[in-house]
């Protein structure tokens, strides 16, 4: 009876699409509800992936679900309510769209931290302060990173942990991927401008993934990128829109001032704002970081607190591309298992 069962997936990023392809492969009817105009989610904004600099487009192409009679994709569907009705789920958006499903997968992903909230870093005030997402945009366009007035930067500083592990911004958790993103982007800057000095200001480097440490070593050895342990306190603008950084070098144990042409803020991941709406009409819960709460973070990572609703990807917590895809596949398998149990 598999072909009679219908699964709704909220969010058409890589996690949503990966789950959809597993489930259609098993013979289920699947509907992907994507709030934006096109599928792909946040990965659309990224140019190259760590740790091997392969193009994000490769991943996007790979997860794209083959056209299947069992797959239905609805874009511009901003779902704000999930309700249980007679044993099934009713999903509604702001217009008159209603979708009924036997199981739901949440793959709403993440938002990027709004760097203007960290006002002392000058994002939105000084033109030469950009975010890691802005850098990807430049990289993707194929152009070189330049200062606001089009000059080649002599010095670029990357700032780690912007909006992560920072109680003052309200986010005490680690976003996990920014450390390695900082290493990757620093190397990309030296590839664009071999003469440019690059500095990374970090608290501690969390290079947890396979091959991440190798990239860190390469950054130091081959690209002469300098890593300074110390958090940035403030950025100010000097003449000619040059930036002055104030930080503390905690290894040398003294304050530090540095002039630089461009500052890149490695912004963290935040839970999707819509998550709160999606919890309203059911038993879904959010954790202390506003991500979806798992039934159990060890054995039931992909199960939400509402039976029949499953979680995939970075709506659970910050995740890399690999982890998102793995999470999506295991969510799909759980859906299959639970629907088969229902059947019996």
């Amino acid at each position: 009876m598999i072909d009679k069962k219908h699964i709704a997936i909220i969010g058409g990023g890589i996690a949503g699409q990966e789950a959809a392809s597993v489930l259609t492969g098993l013979g289920y009817k699947v509907t992907i509800l994507e709030k934006n105009e096109r599928m792909g989610g946040m990965l659309n904004k990224w140019s190259k992936l760590f740790p091997d600099f392969s193009s994000s487009q490769l991943v996007l192409d790979a997860v794209k679900v083959a056209t299947d009679k069992n797959l239905n994709v609805i874009c511009n569907a901003d779902i704000f309510s999930v309700q249980k009705e007679n044993g099934r789920f009713k999903l509604s958006d702001n217009s008159s769209l209603d979708v009924y499903a036997d199981a739901v997968i949440m793959s709403t992903g993440y938002n990027l931290f709004d760097a203007t909230l960290k006002e002392e870093y000058g994002y939105g005030v000084f033109e030469n302060v950009i975010t890691s997402a802005d850098f990807e945009k430049v990289h993707k366009s194929g152009e070189k990173l330049t200062t606001a007035d089009g000059k080649a930067p002599r010095r670029v500083a990357f700032i780690h942990c912007v909006g992560s592990r920072d109680a003052k911004t309200g986010n005490t958790y680690c976003s996990k991927v920014c450390c390695i993103t900082g290493v990757k982007q620093a190397i990309e800057v030296t590839q664009m401008w071999p003469e440019c000095e690059v500095f990374n200001f970090y608290m501690d480097l969390r290079l947890y993934g396979s091959k991440y440490d190798a990239l860190y070593l390469e950054a130091q050895k081959h690209h002469k990128i300098q890593f300074i342990r110390g958090r940035l306190s403030e950025v100010s603008e000097r003449q000619g829109k040059e930036l002055q950084l104030k930080a503390e070098d905690t290894l040398q144990g003294r304050p530090l001032r540095m002039k630089t042409d461009i500052v890149v803020l490695l912004i963290g991941m935040e839970a999707c704002k819509q998550n709160e709406d999606l919890c309203r009409d059911n038993a879904l819960e959010l954790d202390e970081n506003r991500f979806f709460k798992s039934k159990n973070i060890y054995n039931h990572r992909n199960s939400s607190t509402q039976s029949g609703v499953f979680l995939a990807g970075s709506c659970i917590c910050p995740m890399s591309v690999n982890e998102s895809l793995e999470s999506a596949r295991s969510a799909a398998m759980l859906v299959d298992k639970s629907l088969k149990v229902q059947e019996r």
């Binding site: 005030v125 109680a167 911004t169 403030e234 950025v235 100010s236």
Partner: protein, 554 residues
């Protein structure tokens, strides 16, 4: 007189005010009128004190000049006191009726004193009534109650025991008084006199500290005002600070767990300097850390008319700095931005942490720099700096001006012109500027020229603290959020377009709450500068640029 009446308590709650007034003022009058009565009865200006207090015991049956009027007056006053007492007893058990949500916890000394105080007046009534019954006199009250006693049994039997009980309760009260909160009765009279004479606390413990400490009646009015209770902190408030100082058992945990926002000081009926008192305790209890600012001594001042000191907090809000720069440029002011590159602290955060000596070093160095610049005006954009520059710096011939006032004056003198809009703004009074420095109207007048400032209940001296206070060294970030959101939710209730404040620390704290768009008033002004002024600014910048090229050309 203020000590007996306490108008502030009336303002807080009329019933509570009446309670205190009837007890304090009523008792006072009982003593004065009783003394007069005795003087007249004895035909002498010098009567022993005990004779007046126990007049009805000594004086039984003789009629004397105006005796009828006196017994009426005395009965009336006793009734007045008793009515207050009744309220006091009700208050002990039903505090909400008096507008108090919380009340202080009593210790044993207080309990003895409280019980004696409660007994004094009913016993006096009974004793005097018995006398009235024995001698068949008394006023409207005592004669009535006396008749009732007469009805129950022979009044002569009750006569001695009741007078004995009355005098004992009176005795107990005065014995317990020095060890109880009722020490405020004799002390606060002295304190209020000194306060009105303009005497203030210095930065060290002296006898004036003791006077203030003993003047606290532990009424608990400060407890309701303290925002920390929102975060579940309920043992570090001013009343407990004063109690702990008095009992010499003040812990750092309590001493430094205070926002220093001054909300308690506003409502204190006695006018105790709760914030200064706490600052003094912090200074006295903190050992100086190994502070060295030798590297600052090499700095050299630049000559200018106006010095701008942004301070550490404004450096964390670069939008405020760029707004100030734009305002200075448009008004064509000759300004030296003193802490643009190297940013020494104003000293106030150190002061709040009890690091007085370290703060003095910074104050000395900054003073030298400011005086060397030859400026006539010092502009600051942070209320924390403003307070210390005004109160602890000695800068002869330099006017310290807060940016709200400075910008207002620029507009007033025509150096700056601003466009109006129909933006609805909630203005948040920063603690250090409002309660700290008494500046409430200038920012409102300034913002009023640009948009509409919404009036609220919790504003000016009753304004909330944003929760970001530098004064609290103990509170956790989570608890700060609770305080911040209490203010933000209230402000949201007025559905303003924006939230405006005059303190970079408040701005940063509220911005992190992500409920309302938050601006400093300098940003609002910089954004509203008229096009005319702007073209003038552009002209100047172009001229400067041209000058630069001319120099390069050489």
């Amino acid at each position: 007189m203020e000590a007996l009446l306490h108008r502030k308590i009336f303002r807080k709650n009329p019933v509570l005010g009446y309670m205190h007034m009837s007890l304090a003022f009523g008792w006072f009058l009982l003593i004065v009128v009783g003394h007069l009565e005795t003087m007249i009865a004895e035909h002498s200006l010098f009567v022993p004190f005990h004779k007046a207090v126990f007049f009805r015991y000594y004086e039984g049956f003789d009629e004397f000049f105006l005796s009828g009027l006196f017994s009426f007056l005395m009965d009336f006053l006793l009734l007045f006191v008793l009515s207050g007492l009744m309220f006091a007893i009700v208050k002990r058990f039903r505090k909400k009726l008096f507008g108090l949500r919380r009340t202080t916890h009593l210790k044993s000394g207080d309990k003895i004193a409280l019980t004696s105080l409660w007994l004094i007046f009913p016993l006096r009534l009974l004793a005097e009534s018995t006398s009235a019954a024995v001698y068949h006199n008394g006023g409207f009250l005592t004669s009535g109650v006396g008749a009732a006693i007469d009805f129950i049994g022979n009044p002569a039997i009750f006569y001695y025991p009741l007078w004995m009980a009355y005098s004992l309760s009176l005795g107990f009260f005065f014995v317990a008084l020095p060890n109880s909160r009722y020490m405020h009765i004799p002390t606060e009279v002295v304190f209020i006199f000194l306060r009105v004479a303009g005497i203030r606390l210095k930065k060290q413990n002296d006898s004036y500290t003791d006077v203030q400490v003993f003047s606290c009646s532990r009424c608990g009015i400060c407890l309701d005002k303290c925002q920390l209770s929102v975060a579940g902190i309920d043992d570090s408030q001013s009343v407990y600070l004063l109690k702990n100082i008095r009992n010499k058992n003040l812990s750092d945990e309590k001493l430094f767990n205070c926002l220093m926002c001054g909300r308690c000081q506003v409502d204190c009926p006695v006018g105790i300097e709760t914030i200064e008192l706490r600052t003094v305790q912090r200074i006295e209890s903190t050992r100086e850390y190994n502070s060295s600012y030798d590297y600052l001594i090499q700095e050299v001042a630049t000559k200018a008319d106006v010095v701008y000191f942004a301070g550490c907090m404004t450096h964390l809000t670069p939008r405020v700095i760029s707004s100030m720069k734009k305002i200075f440029a448009t008004a064509e002011e000759d300004v030296w931005f003193m802490d643009e590159v190297k940013a020494p602290c104003c000293g106030r955060p150190l002061m709040l942490a009890g690091q007085y000596e370290a703060a003095r070093k910074l104050i000395e160095n900054n003073s030298r720099m400011i005086l060397d610049s030859g400026a006539h005006t010092l502009v600051v954009s942070c209320p924390i700096c403003y307070k210390v520059f005004k109160e602890d710096y000695k800068l002869p011939d330099v006017e310290v001006v807060f940016h709200a006032q400075y910008i207002y004056d620029l507009i007033h003198s025509g150096k700056l012109s601003v466009d109006t809009s129909n933006q609805r703004m909630v203005y948040h009074d920063p603690c250090e500027l409002g309660r700290g420095m008494g500046m409430y109207e200038t920012p409102r007048k300034l913002l009023g020229r640009i948009g509409e400032v919404v009036h609220m209940k919790d504003e000016k001296e009753y304004a909330f603290c944003c929760g970001g206070s530098l004064g609290n060294l103990k509170i956790s970030e989570d608890k700060r959020k609770l305080l911040r959101d209490q203010a933000l939710v209230t402000y949201e209730g007025f559905s303003p377009d924006i939230l405006v404040t005059a303190c970079p620390k408040c701005k940063k704290t509220f911005a992190a709450g992500r409920k309302l768009k938050v601006f400093d008033l300098a940003e609002i002004v910089a954004g509203a500068i008229c096009v005319d002024s702007l073209s003038k600014e552009k002209e100047i910048l172009e001229k400067q640029e041209a000058d630069c090229y001319a120099v390069e050309g050489l």
